[in-house]
Every structure is written in C-alpha cells, then in structure tokens.
Symmetry: C2
Subunit: 128 residues, 2 copies
Amino acid sequence: MKYSYQREQILKIVQSSYGHLSANEVYEQVRKIIPNISLGTVYRNLNTLAEHHFIRRIIMPHGSDEYDYNVEPHSHIYCVKCGNIYDLPSKVDERMQKLVEKEAGYTITKSSVVFEGICPQCESEKEG
Amino acid sequence: MKYSYQREQILKIVQSSYGHLSANEVYEQVRKIIPNISLGTVYRNLNTLAEHHFIRRIIMPHGSDEYDYNVEPHSHIYCVKCGNIYDLPSKVDERMQKLVEKEAGYTITKSSVVFEGICPQCESEKEG
DNA sequence: CCCCTAAGTAGTAATGATTACTACTTCATT
DNA sequence: AATGAAGTAGTAATCATTACTACTTAGGGG
C-alpha cells in the first residue's frame, strides 16, 4: 500500500466518527477537505482499508454498506425506531458461532448478521 | 389478492423447488410455461406472495435475494465450497434471538442472518 | 349475464449502490 | 532524475430491483 493523501483523510474520518458511515457519508465529509475527490476513490480506499483491517466493512442486507472503525468481529443491530446502527458485543458473536457449529455441524468462516429491533433507549422512551 | 395465472405458476415453482431460488431463476423457469412473462411480474408476485406469507424472501447480504418455500423463520448458511444455501433449524434462531435480547437488552423484531462457512458434506470430503 | 373498476400484466425506463475503465498523476525506489 | 507500480478524477457500465405506462382481466353488484 502506497501512501496517498486521499486515503489518509478517509481513514481519519472513519476513525474519528466513532460510528458507522456509508461510503456516501464519507464522501460528503471528505469533500470538505478535498473538494474534487471522486466517489470511486472513496469506495476504492474504504475497501482497501477494510482488506488491510484498518477498518471494517459491514455488509448491510439492503441499503448501502457501512464502514466501521471497530475492527473486532461483531454483529450489528438496526433500531427501527431511531434508525441508528449499534454494535453488539463480540461475545454475542462468539456464542452465536458456537451455537451454529454445535447445532448444525457447520464450520463458520464468516457471518453477516444484522438484527432489526428496538434499542434499550427507545424501549424505555415508550413508557414515558 | 386477485387470482392470476402468472402468480399461480410462480408459486408452484417456488413450492416445488424445495430450495431457494432467486427472482431470476424463477423467471427462467416460468418462461418455459409463459414465454412472454415479464421479469417485473416475477418480482411483483414473489414479493406479494412473501407479504402474504405463502413464501419467504431471504435478503442476502450481497447478490440477489432468494425466495424460499419454507415460511418458518430461519437463518441461512452459504457454503463457500459448494455454493449452496442451506437452512438452519429455527431452534438456532430462537436461541440467537434470546442471546441478543439477554446480553444486549434489545428487543428483536426481525433478523437478517446469513452465515458463511463449510457444510458438513464438504467438510467430510476434505479428508477424502 | 354483463358491466365496471381495482388489480394485474408486458414492456420499458429509472433508480441506487457499487465497480470498471481510461488517461493522467504521484509515490518511493534504484 | 528515471522508472514503474499504485493511485486518482471523471465517467461509463453493471446488477438487482422498482417505477411507470398503457393495456388487459378477474370477479362482484346491478
């Protein structure tokens, strides 16, 4: 991987976001610094960075994929009320994997798990 | 839902497939019976049938969605060796859901879970 | 039994996310 | 400094899916 200013800025944005960003959201942000950057460059660099484990690509079932500063394998949950995407503890992933391997006899190499539900905050607001 | 010959044939194909078919695969099959059927008609009917719980739509992380005759909620695993998509027992789903609700405090309404791994058959062939 | 209209259809165009392509530029090594 | 592999901007292409349009049909009320 050769250095490039574009990639450096893209990495900074994802790392400082402390959340999940779509390629387009990264594009919007990086354009403030590099106005003529191309969307293709954003995609290419996000994927290169993900391949080299600097960030993690979250393949969303529908809609655009998201890029995550947290490189530890973990699943995600989309809150249908507030629209946010939250991380699930990686402990949950480990246990899910063991469950599938034990119950069904498969060797899991990778998983794409996105839950939909209601986050604790929205759940408690329901009563207020 | 008004009767239509097209929808009847589409339902028959998915139900008699005993597996998972993409919209395009259904299209290819139904064209043998109704040569000038439109791909849009296939999509519309598959989704209508799924909404009415005659079949189930499996949203795949990447690639095309699949349609399943098995309407019980269950997750899927894609075997990276043979390329097939297998069902996981719905017991696994129930336990995954409980795990997430207990460990992370979320109320799960829906889940899109697709594992990638190696199926028992391919696993055993490795040694031969 | 026929008419009406909402639902369905074929065919095509549009959408949205992502990747591919092309000609030009830049990093970093000798 | 020269070279070549890797990177870039800009644009076109791809792929799955949905939307649109004008036409057709199912099927209940008169």
